[in-house]
């Protein structure tokens, strides 16, 4: 059993009357790619900030690499890397100079630094841009430089806060390859996202909604744990049918996916009942067929459960 690198119990953060993070409990294992999935404002960034030791919790405890996030901040800061959505780079410096700066800040020794910088530039395919000013580089390249800067001191844990929010889909895919590559070397990666497709790449996921943890498992486990049957419905006027279905007590959740409806049935729900109900509502279905729930289906269903 690998040791937990992050251990969180009842972690809470309040801002005035507003509870941004509400009694989170989870742990992250070494070498894991652990994702926080949730909409904006669900408490992902606040959680990361607490784990990095830059925001004190209001209640609860959190230990990162065995160090308490309140009392042993200095020990934590030395061993973690952090990358924000804004790619905190100095525009007037080149990628090489940015990496050297962050290396210096993390105390990477003088003679070791240039070779490590060159190594990272090679590894992340940044040699061509290494000596141009960061301000002139495209988003995808800046993102890779920011990642390299966060990893310059070979941290035990990398915290990535919405690292792909501001780049194009092609760069997003390439970026996840970098994440896997880094995790394969033993680095634990904690990453926040609001992209469902990205969340599928994580080893384990924490689903967050309004500051609360509504599920914590592998993407497959989360979908499986729904324990509900999903039906894909094709009908005319799907929006009208949706309005009608969400009120049925035997339906756990219903969402519009393109022109189709994804309907999660509770125990007492059946395909026949669904067909009959839709016909009675004046929107007879062209087809009702079982389908595998996506992460998005699971997320919608679980948030609906948590809210009720």
């Amino acid at each position: 059993m690998p040791a937990a690198t992050v251990e969180v119990a009842e972690l809470t953060r309040r801002f005035g009357d507003f509870t941004a993070v509400d009694a989170l409990t989870f742990s992250v294992h070494r070498g894991e790619v652990f994702g926080f999935l949730g909409p904006n404002g669900s408490g992902k960034t606040t959680t990361i900030r607490m784990l990095c030791g830059i925001l004190p919790p209001s209640a609860g405890v959190a230990a990162v690499l065995g160090h308490d996030v309140v009392r042993e901040v200095d020990a934590i800061k030395r061993q973690i890397g952090y990358m924000s959505q804004r790619f905190a780079l100095y525009d007037e410096l080149t990628p090489r100079e940015n990496l050297r700066f962050y290396g210096g800040v993390y105390g990477v020794s003088g003679s070791d630094l240039p070779s490590r910088v060159t190594g990272l530039l090679d590894r992340f395919d940044l040699q061509a841009a290494a000596d141009r000013l960061c301000g002139s580089l495209p988003g995808g390249v800046r993102q890779r430089v920011a990642f390299a800067a966060a990893a310059i001191h070979q941290p035990e844990i990398l915290f990535l806060d919405e690292p792909t929010a501001a780049v194009d889909p092609a760069s997003r895919r390439a970026f996840w390859d970098m994440i896997y590559d880094t995790a394969a070397g033993g680095t634990t990666v904690l990453v926040t996202t609001h992209f469902m497709d990205e969340a599928e790449y994580c080893h384990r996921l924490a689903l967050m909604s309004r500051g609360r943890l509504i599920a914590c498992d592998s993407p497959a486990g989360i979908k499986h744990a729904l324990g509900a049957e999903m039906m894909e419905v094709v009908c005319d006027q799907p929006a009208r049918a949706l309005d009608f279905l969400v009120d049925q007590p035997w339906i756990r959740s219903a969402t519009l996916v393109g022109t189709r409806l994804h309907v999660l049935l509770r125990q007492e729900g059946t395909a026949e009942r669904l067909r009959a109900t839709l016909s009675a509502a004046g929107t007879p279905p062209h087809s009702v067929a079982p389908a595998a729930p996506s992460l998005e289906d699971a997320f919608v269903a679980l948030t609906a459960d948590a809210a009720s």
């Binding site: 830059i54 800061k77 924000s84 905190a88 105390g107």
Partner: protein
């Protein structure tokens, strides 16, 4: 077109009102400028700080001293005893003018002989010096006419012996250049620090730095020290331009001036740091920095003699570090005086630097979380 225009104007007003700091500047700045300019730009110099050294100590000399005060231009702040003490009072900046009355003054006027009075005038501020000189001469002539009318010979008038110290030709460039050096330094130091920190905040690199093992003290010193160096370079350049280009004579100790410049710069950098903790973008930083610089321009004695200001403005002026630094600059450059005369200014600059740095460090630490 009407609706588009209306929508745009409406949006501008909403933005203006929602950005509280900008709103404050919109409302306060014009009033502040009017009041400051209105009162400070009072070119009539009166209430010039004056000391006397009265060796005669009789009815005649007291009459003369009273007539000085009666002009309204001289405010006699005391009798310092002898000519040496009078000179020291001017060196220290306690007085701008000194009247040295010899012991035979009373006897000479009584006997109808010409009575000498020595006048020492601080020439570092030409407008003050000129007013003092003119008033003293007018007064002496009037005394002569008065005495003649009283039946004495005109030769029994007062023989005024004026000496304009430090800047004998009363050139305004000698007055302006040291002041400008102070003003330029203050502006540079405040703006540079403000921008250096606010820029990082704006771009998100500040947050990145907070996550690294860097300590608040290291962050602050590391960010400010380069600007101390730059500001010192600017002192050197400004002094060189003043001395070699404008020909302002440098009479005092360069080492002392540099040491006191450091104290002044620390205070200015502290102000910049403080501004950076209450602003979130460079525009706001710029506006607030100008807010601190304007009183320096108008009230420090940079352009307008402090003597001519109303009491409230004089009180405000006495809190502004630039006021003291200008005295240091003019004191070392023009008067050639040392720490024995400038220690009160040095003390204030040190106290101010310490206070503002402590305050800004505390606020800066708090702004990190």
């Amino acid at each position: 077109m009407g609706s588009r225009l209306r929508a745009l104007m409406r949006k501008e007003f909403i933005q203006m009102v929602r950005d509280r700091r900008t709103l404050a500047i919109i409302l306060v700045m014009p009033v502040m400028q009017l009041v400051l300019f209105g009162y400070a730009i009072n070119q009539t110099v009166d209430h010039i700080a004056t000391v006397v050294a009265d060796a005669s100590k009789d009815v005649r000399s007291r009459e003369f001293i009273q007539s000085l005060a009666n002009t309204g231009y001289f405010t006699v702040i005391g009798d310092v005893g002898d000519a040496g003490a009078a000179r020291r009072a001017i060196d220290e900046g306690a007085a701008r003018v000194a009247f040295v009355i010899p012991s035979e003054f009373g006897a000479n006027t009584l006997a109808g002989r010409l009575a000498q009075v020595q006048v020492l005038i601080d020439g570092s501020d030409p407008s003050v010096a000129q007013t003092a000189l003119l008033t003293a001469e007018t007064l002496a002539r009037a005394r002569g006419i008065e005495l003649a009318a009283a039946g004495r010979t005109a030769s029994s008038a007062i023989d005024l012996r004026p000496t304009v110290l430090y800047n004998p030709s009363m050139q305004s460039v000698n007055f302006m250049i040291p002041g400008l050096i102070g003003l330029v330094l203050q502006t540079q130091a405040v703006l540079l620090t403000t921008f250096a920190i606010v820029r990082e905040r704006e771009r998100g690199t500040f947050e990145q730095l907070i996550v690294t093992p860097i300590r608040p003290m290291e962050l602050m010193i590391g960010k400010i020290l380069p600007y101390v160096g730059v500001a010192f370079l600017q002192v050197g350049v400004a002094l060189a331009v003043g001395t070699f280009w404008f020909g302002v004579p440098f009479h005092g100790s360069l080492a002392l001036l540099l040491a006191l410049s450091l104290l002044f710069l620390l205070g200015a950098l502290g102000i910049g740091l403080l501004i950076s903790t209450v602003t979130s973008n460079q525009t706001q930083g710029m506006q607030l920095a100008m807010f601190t610089i304007l009183p320096g321009v108008l009230l420090s004695g940079f352009m307008f003699p402090r003597e001519a200001m109303p009491g409230v403005l004089q009180a405000i002026s006495s809190l502004i570090p630039l006021t003291y630094f200008l005295q240091v600059l003019r004191g070392t450059i023009l008067k050639g005086v040392g720490l024995e005369a400038l220690w009160p200014q040095a003390l204030y600059l040190a106290v101010f630097a310490l206070a503002i740095c402590t305050l800004s460090v505390l606020r800066f630490r708090r702004s990190l979380t």
